[in-house]
């Protein structure tokens, strides 16, 4: 199999890159540079009230061919998420939406119950829905049943750069859910993005880790390489760990009649 065949399928669309870039905390010019270095073909963005006098148009930052993935940040309920998603669609960048419902302003953890409801409603409205969620197996199953296109569990609290704190639970989703699992939030270093990909995640999303790096463009390169390396390792099949000395015990199979 060539690497060209290893496409990330989301809805009807195939992507070569498995890096989803969050567009927060970048200037327009920086955004273009980061996109180029990251190789990302998908970028998220948010919907906010417009100020009179019109600031720069963020859409100018994205070259054609970049799939825009509006999020529903700011939504505290399913209904608000649906409202924001519809406004985003009205702004004219397609049917993809990253559902994000956060009802806790202290920890900013996603509300899985509302997220499932929002996903159900948005799938009914014809959206391609990628829900951001806390990695809970039942919620992930409910999202799959609701018609989500992928599931986006958090690795650690949003913006925390603390890595894959939820690795064991994300691994369960990788095993049990027949949808692309995309780690969103918390990834702080390329090594963590690589680990998520080795585990079998379909893609990784990052924003703060790059936006707050010393050299933003170089860090975008590092993430691109790490994600590709993790994916290649996953596809190659990990080798065995060397055992730390054998357990001394009498043979377990000596009773057999051969």
């Amino acid at each position: 199999m060539t690497s060209d065949e290893d496409a990330l399928m989301l809805g009807e669309q195939a992507f070569r890159s498995r890096f989803i870039l969050g567009s927060g905390k970048f200037s327009s010019e920086m955004m273009r540079t980061v996109l180029e270095h990251s190789g990302a073909e998908i970028a998220t963005l948010a919907v906010r009230r417009a100020n009179a006098g019109g600031a720069e148009n963020i859409l100018d930052s994205f070259p054609p061919g970049i799939r825009l993935l509006p999020n529903t940040s700011g939504a505290r309920s399913a209904e608000e998420a649906v409202r924001i998603a519809k406004l985003a669609r009205e702004l004219g960048c397609g049917d993809f939406v990253k559902v994000e419902v956060i009802g806790d302003s202290k920890y900013l953890l996603p509300d899985n119950t509302e997220t499932v409801r929002a996903t159900e409603m948005l799938v009914d409205e014809g959206f391609v829905v990628l829900p951001y969620m806390y990695p809970d197996l039942y919620a992930a199953r409910a999202l799959a049943r609701a018609g989500a296109t992928a599931v986006m569990p958090l690795g650690a609290p949003i913006g925390s750069n603390r890595g894959l704190l939820t690795a064991d639970f994300i691994r369960i989703l990788v095993e049990e859910i027949d949808l692309p699992i995309i780690v969103d939030a918390g990834i702080g270093r390329p090594s963590e993005a690589c680990a998520a990909m080795e585990m079998g995640c379909a893609a990784v999303m990052a924003n703060t880790a790059i936006a707050t790096a010393g050299d933003v463009a170089a860090m975008a390169d590092a993430f691109r390489l790490a994600i590709a390396a993790g994916r290649a390792a996953y596809r190659a099949g990990l080798g065995r760990k060397l055992e730390k000395g054998a357990e001394a015990s009498s043979p377990l199979t000596g009773f057999l009649e051969r």
């Binding site: 969050g22 927060g24 905390k25 948010a46 919907v47 006098g53 940040s73 949003i158």
Partner: protein
Amino acid sequence: MKVNGENVALEKTLDLSGFLVLRGFDEKLVAVERNGEIVPRGSFADVVLKADDVLEILHFVGGG
């Protein structure tokens, strides 16, 4: 009117398109919700504003 949470006096009869231009918005870059309903982008000129309208004018910004 209430526009993005602020009180705005409607001084003359205006359609939505005219209002956006007057306030310095680029029609092509915003989505508008009027009294909770999305106004389709092609039809801003067909909507005549009323004094008690509630408008939300939105656009894309960077976000993760």
